[in-house]
């Protein structure tokens, strides 16, 4: 939904000489990166605990407004809220590590399995959106890089500029009107086979699509100006081959790895998209839960999504290491 801030393409570090010692360094980098991910996970749990305690007293939420002092005391005891904050925190940590979050007050089933089963629908939606974004975004980006400063590029620039101002939920509303209400091409609500994923995935794809077009364009544009492209060109290799084999191949890695990070951010956008299309994923579940005061479910969804994002970022970093020898060398040389 919110426009993803386009950070710089993660630049490949200047390649150093490849030394045998680099191997050892890579292993260390690996270990440090995993440790870092675990620390961030721990902090996410802490943040969720802190915010949920800051936001409201659960007793007020669970009891009706006219509750007596005695009822409040019983409820406080029951929830363990009379214990010192530090102890509550340790219990929260323990429950998180063991995966025992208790039951949903709304569905009366254990929270974790509920969230995990609903997350599959969200995953399907996110993957579909990402496929649309990559399959459209990369070719468009390459085309715009090759035709830089043509009329095509200028028009695309205006369209992309406008697209950045389009809220993805507004796009969803417009798509519903055009394709479901007017043209009857797709079902409006729910999850009923392939045709029902098209509209939600398309509206969710907007933000990553714009990001991927911009990233691909700038990466390929930079690659086209390099000496190896000129060298390939001067060897008489056809332009089309040079663009795809030399320029694109060398600039695609940051695009694809950034795509991995975007996939994580899609979860945020999916909340509203799922709500509009009644898509039975964790986004819809989180809204339904919050409207009914089921805060445990929202906490678990938040921590689960953060875990997915942290793991994805970790995998992206490690994939980078595997795919790009220049990064591998740089990681090895860093202490």
């Amino acid at each position: 939904m919110a426009a993803v801030p386009i950070t710089e393409v993660p630049a490949a570090a200047p390649s150093g000489r490849r030394q045998p010692a680099a191997r050892h360094g890579v292993g260390q980098y690996f270990a440090r990166r995993i440790l870092q991910a675990i620390i961030i996970l721990f902090l996410v749990v802490t943040i969720v605990f802190g915010l949920s305690h800051m936001a409201a007293n659960p007793v007020d939420i669970l009891l009706p407004p006219g509750a007596t002092a005695q009822q409040r005391a019983v409820e406080t005891q029951l929830l363990g809220l009379n214990k010192p904050l530090a102890e509550q925190y340790l219990i929260f940590l323990k429950n998180t590590v063991t995966g025992h979050f208790g039951d949903s007050t709304l569905f009366h089933v254990p929270i974790l399995p509920l969230v995990l089963s609903r997350s599959l629908a969200t995953l399907r939606l996110a993957v579909a959106a990402m496929l649309i974004a990559v399959l459209l975004g990369v070719p468009i980006g390459v085309l715009l890089a090759v035709r830089a400063d043509s009329w095509l590029d200028r028009i695309a620039g205006v369209v992309i500029g406008l697209a950045q101002g389009v809220a993805s939920f507004w796009l969803a509303v417009i798509l519903v009107f055009l394709f479901a209400v007017r043209l009857h091409m797709f079902p409006v609500l729910g999850d009923a086979g392939f045709s029902s994923i098209v509209l939600p995935a398309a509206s969710l794809a907007l933000v990553p699509l714009v990001a991927i077009i911009r990233l691909t364009k700038s990466a390929v544009f930079a690659a086209l100006a390099t000496d190896y492209v000129k060298a390939a060109r001067s060897r008489g290799i056809p332009w089309r081959v040079v663009v795809i084999r030399h320029a694109l191949r060398n600039s695609i890695i940051p695009v694809l790895t950034y795509g991995g990070m975007l996939l994580g951010q899609l979860i945020s956008g999916a909340v509203i998209t799922e709500q509009i299309f009644a898509w039975p994923g964790i986004g819809q579940l989180s809204i339904f839960a919050i409207q009914n005061g089921d805060y445990g479910v929202v906490e678990v969804i938040t921590m689960f999504s953060a875990t997915v994002i942290i793991v994805l970022n970790l995998l992206v970093d490690l994939a980078y290491l595997a795919l790009d020898p220049r990064v591998r060398d740089a990681a090895g040389e860093r202490r």
Binding site: A55, D149, G165, V173, V176, Q265, Y295, T302
Partner: protein, 286 residues
């Protein structure tokens, strides 16, 4: 076609000033509209002066009294949009200001003091970055109840990390600059170095982050309004109007179109202004 890589591009200086002017003009018009809203239509957005679903002025049955027609409750759509734009801009500005102040203080402290504090602060920022912003907002506002304060806290809470990261990075570079070393050699106290030599140099970058951040916050806030977690009815918001429009989309689709278009122009204008400021500042600093 072969020499597209060296194709002529518009000199950056001219493009920057063009974006600065165009973006500034759009944002200026919106600010003027927002100010005008409070003068001309005071209270009109909650009143129910007309019949429901009047068409816009240019189609049959419309009148100039209601330029964009009326909504399901007979309220003037144009007036509500003006107020919605005002709310959007005010809330986004307040949130970014809070996020910027908190982020810059945290980032500069982390970069300047270094050590374990730096590690802890930056990892906490990573933790916040890993939490999907909409879920953070849903959890917090859902529990604390929707209010203006909760909205601003939560919006700032999802954005301060960007400022902290940039401020920290700048501080790390500045700390090693010769003019800072010189000050230190002259016996300047850390506090003087911090406030006279580091903070003033961090602020321009923070300004760039802020202008690029406002559109993000506007769209995020509109999304929360759309979900019913932002400002509560009858206060008009662009997100809320799109949500209302969705309920009558089969018969009156335009009601969902207008606020989205306003949102788009507003965001594009601020984006252009932000890009313009960024280019302007990077030109000046070389």
């Amino acid at each position: 076609m072969t020499d597209t890589a060296v194709a002529l591009v518009t000199p950056p200086a001219r493009r920057a000033s063009r974006e600065l002017w165009a973006g500034g003009a759009i944002v200026g018009v919106f600010i003027a509209l927002a100010v005008a809203a409070s003068w001309f239509h005071n209270g009109a957005y909650v009143a129910q002066p007309a019949s429901a679903y009047l068409p816009p002025a240019w189609s049959a049955g419309g009148s100039v009294a209601h330029l964009l027609g009326t909504d399901a409750l007979g309220r003037d759509v144009a007036a509500r949009m003006l107020f919605g734009i005002r709310e959007s801009v005010e809330i986004a500005a307040a949130s970014v200001l809070v996020a910027g102040a908190v982020g810059v203080i945290i980032g500069v402290s982390a970069g300047f003091l270094g050590g374990w504090l730096d590690d802890v602060v930056m990892r906490v920022a990573d933790g916040f970055l890993a939490i999907p912003v909409v879920l953070l907002a849903i959890g917090f506002i859902g529990a604390a109840g929707p209010s203006l304060a909760a909205l601003i806290i939560v919006l700032a809470g999802t954005q301060w990390m960007l400022f902290a990261r940039v401020a920290r990075g700048e501080t790390l570079v500045l700390r090693e600059q010769q003019f800072v070393t010189a000050q230190r050699a002259l016996g300047a106290r850390p506090r003087r170095i911090l406030f006279r030599h580091i903070v003033p140099h961090v602020l321009p970058s923070a300004l760039v982050v802020a202008t690029l951040n406002v559109p993000t916050v506007i769209l995020l806030e509109a999304g929360l309004d759309f979900l019913g977690l932002g400002l509560q009815p009858p206060t008009p918001t662009l997100g809320g109007m799109i949500s209302d429009g969705l309920t009558s989309i089969t018969r009156y689709p335009l009601l969902a179109v207008y606020p989205g278009v306003a949102l788009m122009i507003l965001v594009v204008g601020i984006n252009m202004l932000g890009d313009g400021i960024k280019a302007f500042l990077s030109e000046r600093t070389g």
